[in-house]
């Protein structure tokens, strides 16, 4: 039994619309960052730099005692 052509067309149309819906929350989030000037990904990068080990990785513990 094959899928009806009309149904197939409707599925294709709806799937295309869905792709936009999938992207919508991500687009809205970046728009809100653009408006508010927030850059949370930079905060994360900064935090990673700040918490980086000060011990060189040349010792026998490989920095494990930090």
């Amino acid at each position: 039994m094959k899928i009806e052509p009309a149904k197939k067309q409707r599925i294709i149309r709806n799937v295309i619309l869905s792709l936009f819906i999938f992207l919508e929350p991500v687009a809205l989030m970046y728009t809100s960052f653009l408006i508010s000037g927030q850059r949370p990904w930079e905060k994360k990068a900064q935090k990673e730099v700040n918490t980086k080990s000060l011990t060189t990785k040349t010792d026998s513990n490989n920095g494990g005692n930090d």
Partner: protein, 322 residues
Amino acid sequence: MEATIDFIKKVIDNLNGFGFPFLVFFLGVLEFSFGLYKNKWPKNERWVDIACFTLPRLILQPAIAYYTLHFLPYVFSDYKNIFTWVPFWWGFAIIAVADDLTQYWYHRLHHEIPWLWRFHRTHHSASYMGMAMASRQNAIYTLFFSQIYLTAALVYLGLGIPAIAVRLVKSTITTLAHSSIPWDKPFYQYKVLHPIAWVLERFISTPATHHAHHAATTDDGVGYYKGNFGNMFFLWDIIFGTALISRQYPKAYGISHYEGDQWYAQLLWPIFKSKVEGSELSAAGPTVRLDPEGEAVLANLNKAALQSKAKGPALEPSYHNH
């Protein structure tokens, strides 16, 4: 502050682990106490429900464990926790849409593409609604539940906490939508609550809209197994025109031509076949067994198509399958 966040994380984690089974058990006890199954739980159906509740977990847990512990780290080795900076509510919105819209499509395609129907048929063969049948699925349908893998990938990428929060909300909504306790009824009964009902029934799945999807009949103004595919959000059905809102509950549930296929066939078709002659799950069974009125409509449309063949394009057949 960090201690508070840690505490909330632990609460969410525990709720995620124990909350869902507890909710199912609690509602199940309530349903039985109120006699909502009305002796509609025969031995064969009991075995199907119990087997579907327990056995797929044995397949699914190792599959997800392999996917999250081996597959994702192998494919996205440099991207673990890359999105931990995403604020909670944005993460919640991203996962809620990604997870539930994916499930909407997974569900809808199993109804609209004929060869997929038999993988989802087990969920519709129950002639009752409630906690007993809420987890009733073919194991292969469960194994390929596409949104599980999508959400697991988002967790790997750093959206773990919002993912758990979405799971809690979604489990609650979908469980209550399958329940035989019509929690939405007061919203339709009292005029003062109608505006809330209007928003609620368009936004999330309710017993009325989801029960209509499980009805034994369709296009009678109440039952509508040709639509109402939404799980957490009903909004998808509204957007794509697959919704029917009647604020009523069907008189009968299940599949009109169902004759009690064996539990092993319902759990593991096509590995095991049904012994019920003419069943969609039997070895020589049809891909989709049409309802009598569907057959009549199809026959008429074919006749009309033959007659108008010389004049123009044939009419599209519209058959009734669940």
